[in-house]
């Protein structure tokens, strides 16, 4: 079920209340979490439950055997079983048709038509996320960094934990699993901050992401009908759409977990304020980037095998990251683009640092921050073109249009701002993006939440009511406009 749905609005309070009723009995509480998580996941399609069950069971048994064995070959073999089963499911459900189509297309380049049809496969929601989560468990066990799960219930609950099951954050067993062993004490301030975070997530998803999607979809789904300026606007709006959609989901996941005493890792840290792509990937989808760092980049050698091997490893990681995001060449190109820029940054940073210092470009002053921040945002947006486009042709059309088809006169043409909706909707979107950026810019420095808590109860409650009514009036929801979260497709 979706977080922004009536179903979840009934589901979550019930689970929350039952959770705290059973909170003193750890086993009962974990059983409740497991049952409710399976209920949550099965709401999409009950058949998905079989996959997650098999995945969890294999890793639980593999984990136990691996821990008891001292034989490295046996342990490696068990790890391979886990990798084979989990990645096997992932590759089959997510990439089988992509490989079949690519195989057929590659032959068609030589004029050979192969009569191979694709399979009818439904992609289980969240498979990319929980697969990586369980793999982190078995890999860390193999590396002897953690101990196996104490009991099957807590492990199954860890894998299927509903707040973060379908779109992350991708948790590490070392961080999340121990939280299933201990009693959590009811903490009113944690519950309150969790609920506020959920409200913020809903604001980002329903008001910003889904509203921006109207414009973005109108342009990207009809590329031939638009010009360079609308491509540019749609791309920038997509940057906010995907950020607010994904981080909104993460906020709701983290907030919901927090109300139950669980601490999930931060997944986003105001990424659009980054001054380099390297910094961007320390702030964007942190759980995934750190997963790739720890389980792909470092095992490949990381930066320990010389300059060129480092560049290769970095590029390969992002190529794979692109593939993780979707079974299409546009995602692979997106990953490759990021990989190239990151390699470039790594290459020029060390060697050119004295040069930049002399030019005053490496100081942390406002003008440099704005310049590099804007440049980074622009580079990220160019990558988003490939991420969003419905195919390579559209991506190239949009890219070309952004660079060659923008007329300054059109900046003032109101039609470019009202694609898919009217000017008032556009104004609300701009206002909402501004509110979000202002909040995220000042969140850490000005301790926004602490300041809010210091206000009178009337002021605080008035603020909460305004937020709720703002979402109720300006949120995109209803029969024809309910939107799934973008990252569900991964």
């Amino acid at each position: 079920m979706l977080f922004n749905s009536l179903d979840f609005a009934f589901f979550f309070p019930v689970v929350f209340v039952l959770y705290w009723i059973f909170s003193k009995h750890v086993v009962a509480r974990n059983i409740l979490l497991l049952v409710s998580s399976y209920f949550f996941y099965g709401w999409w399609d009950w058949r998905f439950l079989l996959l997650i069950f098999i995945s969890s069971l294999v890793d639980f048994l593999v984990g136990r055997k691996m821990y008891r064995s001292e034989n490295n070959r046996t342990r490696k073999g068990l790890l391979m079983i886990s990798l084979f089963v989990n990645l096997g499911f992932l590759v089959y459900f997510k990439y089988a048709n992509f490989f079949i189509e690519s195989f057929v297309d590659s032959f068609s380049l030589f004029g050979i038509a192969l009569e191979i049809s694709t399979l009818e496969i439904i992609l289980p929601v969240g498979i990319s996320f929980y697969t990586f989560q369980t793999l982190s468990y078995t890999i860390d066990l193999y590396r002897k960094k953690i101990e196996p799960a104490k009991d099957v219930i807590s492990f199954f609950a860890f894998v299927s934990f509903f707040p973060q099951l379908v779109a992350g954050p991708i948790e590490r067993a070392s961080h999340l699993l121990p939280q299933f062993y201990i009693k959590h004490k009811f903490d009113y301030s944690l519950v309150k901050s969790g609920l506020l975070l959920m409200a913020y997530g809903l604001f980002k998803k329903m008001v910003v992401a889904d509203r921006a999607a109207v414009y973005v979809n109108s342009v990207y789904n009809n590329v031939e009908d638009h010009n360079g300026l609308s491509y540019l606007y749609a791309t920038v709006l997509f940057a906010f759409q995907i950020y607010c959609d994904f981080s909104g989901y993460s906020d709701i996941a983290i907030g919901a977990s927090r109300t139950m005493g669980f601490d999930l890792m931060k997944n986003f840290d105001a990424p659009y304020f980054s001054k380099s792509l390297t910094e961007f990937w320390r702030r964007w989808h942190i759980s995934l980037s750190t997963w790739f760092r720890d389980y792909v980049y470092i095992p490949l050698g990381g930066s320990r095998k010389g300059k060129y091997r480092t560049y290769f490893n970095l590029f390969l990681v992002f190529l794979v990251s692109g593939l993780w995001h979707g079974a299409a060449w546009t995602f692979i190109i997106w990953g490759a683009l990021h990989g190239i820029v990151l390699v470039f940054e790594k290459a020029i940073y060390k060697s050119k640092e004295p040069f930049f210092k002399r030019l005053g470009l490496s100081n942390e002053n406002l003008s440099n921050r704005m310049f590099f921040g804007t440049l980074t945002f622009f580079i990220v947006c160019l990558g988003w073109v490939f991420f969003r486009a419905n195919g390579l042709d559209d991506a190239l059309t949009v890219t070309q249009g952004i660079f060659t088809d923008i007329s300054v006169n059109e900046i003032f043409a109101i039609e470019n701002y009202t694609i898919g909706f009217n000017i008032n909707e556009f104004k609300i979107l701009m206002l909402s993006i501004l509110l979000m950026l202002t909040f995220e810019a000042y969140y850490k420095r000005r301790s926004v939440i602490n300041r809010l808590n210091k206000q009178s109860v009337i002021a605080r409650w008035s603020f909460y009511l305004i937020v709720v009514m703002y979402i109720a009036i300006f949120g995109i929801y209803g029969e024809t406009t309910t939107k799934e979260f973008i990252y569900f497709q991964f």
Binding site: W20, N424, W461, V468, M469, A472, I473, G478
Partner: protein, 468 residues
Amino acid sequence: MRKLVLKVVLFLLLVLNMLFYSDSYFREDKIFNLTKDSYRDRQSDLDLAIFGSSHAYSTYDPRIFETELNLHSFNFGGSAQRLLTGLPLMEEVVGKNELKIAVVDIFDMSVQHDSLGENSRMLQLQTFDNTEFSFTKVKSFSTIFSFKKLLDIFPTLRNHGSWFELVGKSPHIPKDDADFYKGYVSKFESFDSQTWERFLTKVAKRKKEIPKALAKSESKIIDKVISVFQSKGIPLIFVNAPSYNYQHDKRYQAYQHLIGDYVVSQGFDYIDYNLLTDKIGLKKADFKDPNHLNPKGALKVSAHLSDFIKRNYSIPNRENIEFDQNRYDLISENFKNSTLKFEDLGEQISSKANINAVYVFKTSSYGYELVFRQSDSDVNNVHVKLKFGIDDEDKKKHLEMFGEQSMDGNIVKHYPFLRRDQSILYKGSRYSIYQFRAPYDNIMDMELYVGPKRDLKIFDSINIKQKN
């Protein structure tokens, strides 16, 4: 945890209150908004309330009940309103007034609320959006729309996507050709043969099976309606407005018999006006369309119903009430409270223009009615020209009508749109009715001309200050 639960409940109550407040801004512009708003504006304790669908609101004219029975009356009929939809509304009205009698219009559509088509369901929203929140409303809404759509009970949440169009819109005003009075809505028109043919084509596609008995859900909803009024000891009359199609529709006839037999078996009066058309003299000219009466027809049916109530129910009436916006009451009182009164107009006007008196009175804040008492009751129409002056202040507020170029310090002469004349026969005289709206602060130098060439002056140089 207890503190949290209490705070959450309190917060949700606050959110609900905010939604109730904002809902009035997010209602779509429909005629029932006007009905409910005018009911709220009047604030008087009702004696007689009428419920039902558009059949009700076009048939039972509160003006007649006020005049004949001296009772504060209101018509709560709503488009396509089912009894299930009207149930919370009935509870609300009964709860807020000391009703002396209630009238419920009932026919086959009223008792059917399962598997409604999309259009019918949407029409129920007019009534729901204007009924206060209650458990009955939630139950009715979720029966018609399903539990999953329950949040749509709030216009704010349902229509939030149209926030810019809806918020800040002016309150609903009746269309220029509508005759509106305390929930009664109709038009001064009748239908032609083309309309009749189209109607018959539409009716031919409807179900034809003749029901043998009322379904359980149908009798159950009638019981629920009865219990609302019975619990307060309010006399209740069931009626069925006349349909021009009655003779051609066997299924409709069968349903009315079943409904009538059922309510009579429960001990209530039932009047099917389809069976009284000859008695009260209803003709095709009394219908604005095959299913709805025009004001002439409404006058006949309402007069009969008020007479029925007078003869069969001992309802204590209010004494000495004057209904200044009610043409029938003004006629009965010889227009003593009308805004303007012109009688003994002379032989020339009487013979050439067929008018021997003119009365002008207000029907709402900016609405007026011109009533012409005709010399010859056999002649149906009179010819009228009305104009008055608008100053710059008023022109500024209505630029779309007058334009920037009219801001020249001069008083511009304005010819208001006069809603179509229709004559009625009441208390032995024929009256021609014209209505117009004058949404201006000042009406200056008003002039009225009548006659075939509209050159016979009734009055001029009349000034009316509408706003201080």
